[in-house]
């Protein structure tokens, strides 16, 4: 049976994994290559590396980080953050990424999705959508620039356009839940997952195994991503998969 994927995300700044606490106090959480390998060995189905470096100087180390991380990784590996052109994407693929994730650049120019998909295949193109609930409504707006600016687009409609443009997967982050540990936004995830044919990765709000069970069962997610709950304690990933599996969700375990 096709299993639900549990994806470990590494937020990287200047070549180091960082963990934000309430979007401040970025704490050093280790070497990306070592953490990626450790997560893979403890049962992660996929690794996402997001470069959150604010400056060009710190971003310059990204390709080296990707190369080192990819060297010992034999599960799918996605890289995002700051990819604005086909050439940026090509460089990241050459360094060993299997998929790239694009967000602001795709909103600014949806044809970028098509260009990368035509060269590298749709399976290699993940469109990341940062969605924020419109006050008091069951609708969500897509945000750009790392959540700093409203894009003026309905998140569901944007997901459909991204699919039509050639995206292979949607990485859907609930800005309302991100960093809270209060659980994924199952309603947002379900609305988007039911609107597209491509897989939807839920993100934002993971705090425990029950949240994963809910987003797979009620949110119709194909995969779920988390960062901070996996940091510092790798063994939790394996425990988490066992717990999710015990509740009847198909997961790759043992693996």
């Amino acid at each position: 049976m096709l299993t639900k994927r549990i994806i470990a995300c590494l937020d990287v700044d200047g070549g180091r994994v960082v963990k934000g606490v309430q979007f401040e106090n970025l704490r050093d959480a280790g070497d990306p290559a070592e953490l990626a390998k450790a997560h893979s060995e403890s049962g992660a189905d996929e690794i996402v590396l997001l470069d959150i470096s604010a400056t060009q100087e710190r971003r310059a180390t990204l390709l080296d980080t990707v190369r080192r991380s990819a060297a010992q990784l034999f599960i799918p590996f996605t890289v995002g953050g700051g990819i604005r052109t086909l050439e940026d994407a090509a460089a990241v693929f050459s360094a060993g990424a299997d998929k790239i994730s694009i967000n602001s650049a795709a909103l600014a120019d949806p044809k970028l999705i098509t260009r990368i998909a035509e060269r590298f295949g749709s399976q290699a193109v993940v469109v990341a959508i940062d969605a924020k609930r419109c006050e008091g409504a069951s609708s969500w707006e897509a945000f750009t620039q790392g959540g700093r600016a409203a894009a003026g687009r309905d998140a569901v409609e944007w997901a459909r356009e991204a699919e039509a443009s050639g995206a292979g997967e949607i990485l859907l982050t609930s800005m309302d839940r991100d960093g809270t540990g209060a659980g994924f936004d199952c309603e947002l995830t379900r609305v988007v997952a039911d609107s597209v044919r491509i897989p939807v990765i839920a993100s934002g709000g993971a705090g425990g195994a029950q949240h994963f069970v809910e987003v797979f069962r009620d949110g119709h997610a194909d995969a779920a991503l988390a960062a901070s709950i996996f940091h510092y304690r790798f063994s939790r990933l394996a425990d988490l998969k066992k717990e999710i599996g015990a509740q009847g969700i198909p997961v790759r375990w043992p693996c």
Partner: protein
């Protein structure tokens, strides 16, 4: 030397990385002479079945056919496996290699397509490629079209009905999933291929 045939579709770095990890000498190439000299040929592939047209135009189809004729082991991955068959519903006007009988088909409307993620194999224990890979093993798939189960099938997978996850005939091998992205199980398979 293992030739990883490059026909301009997709990213072949991961395949090379996995083979190199196993200690195999390999090169990504579209050079006809290099393909002719290779002791193993791997044809990866992503994206659209129509992209395999390049193989014919570039003379690579003939080079691969010659190599197979000399008994050189061949491994097709994903679209590379689909290309081993006669045709695909994805691009009816594109001819496949046709070394195996059959046509690649769509998934039924009852399941989401593409089929992306880790799914389990039902393995025929006589397979040489899958030696040491037990039934129930998880491997990573990402594809929109599939090859029906046939006499060449040595592993099948369930997603909207069973389909061919791996095929094998003589020294011809094909896998629909990505061994280079399938953890230890995938490395085992690639290691088997290197040792054939």
């Amino acid at each position: 030397m293992i030739a990883i045939v490059d026909y301009g579709a997709g990213n072949l770095v991961s395949v090379k990385k996995a083979l190199a990890w196993l200690g195999a000498e390999c090169a990504i190439t579209s050079d006809l002479e290099e393909v002719a000299r290779a002791t193993r040929v791997v044809l990866p592939g992503v994206g659209h079945f129509a992209s395999t047209k390049t193989l014919e135009r570039a003379g690579l189809k003939q080079a691969i056919a010659d190599s197979i004729g000399r008994g050189i082991p061949f491994l097709g991955i994903c679209v590379g496996m689909q290309w081993m068959f006669e045709r695909s519903q994805e691009s009816p006007e594109t001819r496949g290699f046709g070394v195996l009988d059959g046509e690649c088909e769509r998934f039924p409307a009852s399941v989401k397509s593409p089929h992306v993620g880790w799914n389990q194999l039902e393995v025929d224990s006589s397979s040489r490629l899958l030696r040491g890979v037990p039934s129930g093993s998880f491997v990573y798939f990402t594809h929109s079209f599939r090859v029906p189960v046939s006499g060449a099938t040595v592993a099948s997978c369930e997603y909207g009905g069973r389909f061919s996850a791996a095929v094998e005939r003589d020294h011809l091998f094909g896998v629909q999933f990505h061994p280079e992205k399938s953890g230890d199980i995938g490395l085992r398979l690639l290691s088997n291929f290197c040792e054939l």
